[in-house]
Amino acid sequence: MSRLDINIRRLQAQRACLNLAAEYIGDLPGPVFELGLGNGRTYDHLREILPDREIFVFDREVAAHPDCIPDPAHLFLGDFQETLRRACARFAGTVALIHADVGSANAARDARLAAVIAGFLPALLRPCGVALSDRDVAFAGAEPVPAPASVAPQVYFLYRREAACEAAAPRAGTAGRG
């Protein structure tokens, strides 16, 4: 596998996981959080596959393609610890999907960031809400949900917040659709 092959595989896995996460949340109400805007590619994909959702973006700074920058009302700029704390006050228990693209070449930094994010997930996600990340963001009350079959293990991590979920649609993969 060349580095070109690896990059293509990584992007295909990312797309497959985003598409599956969008299916998992189905008609579950609530906004989407994109943690890490980067160049805006996954933000652009999320708004294409979830055209009726509000998407809030969190990042330290904006370095995205001009077409992929959300309006100021949907942008939380600053340290995740601070911006997610602020978001909790407004969105606690309502968020349907949180996508966190945190991976870098610095494993120690990534692990710290994943732990910060995981700490906020139980408070932010609505029951049956889904978290998707390229680093493990396991959190209290998280139920792992399968990644797409085409995606190698430990490349992407998908979790669903348990709780009321069980009664509504036990483990069917269609939770929250009524």
Binding site: L4, H45, E48, C68
Partner: protein
């Protein structure tokens, strides 16, 4: 309500930036594989114009392990290890370094891969005109030029892209 659904369907037809990057990289890989096959019987090194993040260099190395690969860059890459070192990394203005490297008959490249276009269309037009001025002529007989920019004036040598690659995404030329 119906019009809103129709609008949603219409919007969903748009290709996201993630989709289009995947398509571009798949097309790039398909063209590299195709070009490597086409030069099977053609002696000569490979010229990679523009190292970027070194991904296509790495792919060419995997496809053609027995070929010498020369990379041409304006300046030394920030991150060492992405490409070759020593005499296989040629620094400077490609309008000078590339023709100089191909000046001896034995050094004529069997394949030149050039991926140097950007979002700046005026800049791309200048680059393409510069490349067209020297690139096709320095190929070994039967050699291939693969470029992300169309080379004006080289249309007689143009080949169709491989199956699955949309016309206009990559440009292939073969020296007779």
């Amino acid at each position: 309500m119906r019009s809103r659904r129709a609008a949603r369907r219409h919007r969903r037809a748009r290709v996201s930036r993630l989709d289009s990057l995947i398509r571009r990289l798949q097309a790039q890989r398909a063209c590299l594989v195709h070009a490597a096959r086409l030069i099977g019987g053609v002696p000569g090194p490979i010229f990679e114009i523009g190292l970027g993040n070194g991904r296509t260099y790495d792919h060419l190395r995997a496809l053609c392990p027995a070929r010498e690969i020369f990379v041409f860059e304006r300046r030394a890459p920030d991150e060492p290890g992405l490409g070759p070192g020593g005499r296989h990394l040629v620094l400077g203005d490609i309008r000078e370094t590339v023709p100089a490297a191909a000046s001896a008959a034995a050094a004529r490249p069997a394949l030149v891969h050039s991926d140097i276009g950007s979002g700046d269309s005026a800049g791309n037009a200048r680059l393409a005109a510069a490349l067209a001025g020297f690139l096709p002529g320095l190929l070994a007989p039967g050699g291939i030029a693969l470029s992300d920019l169309a080379l004006p004036g080289a249309g007689d040598w143009a080949l169709p892209p491989p199956a699955g690659v949309a016309a206009g995404r990559y440009f292939l030329y073969r020296r007779p």
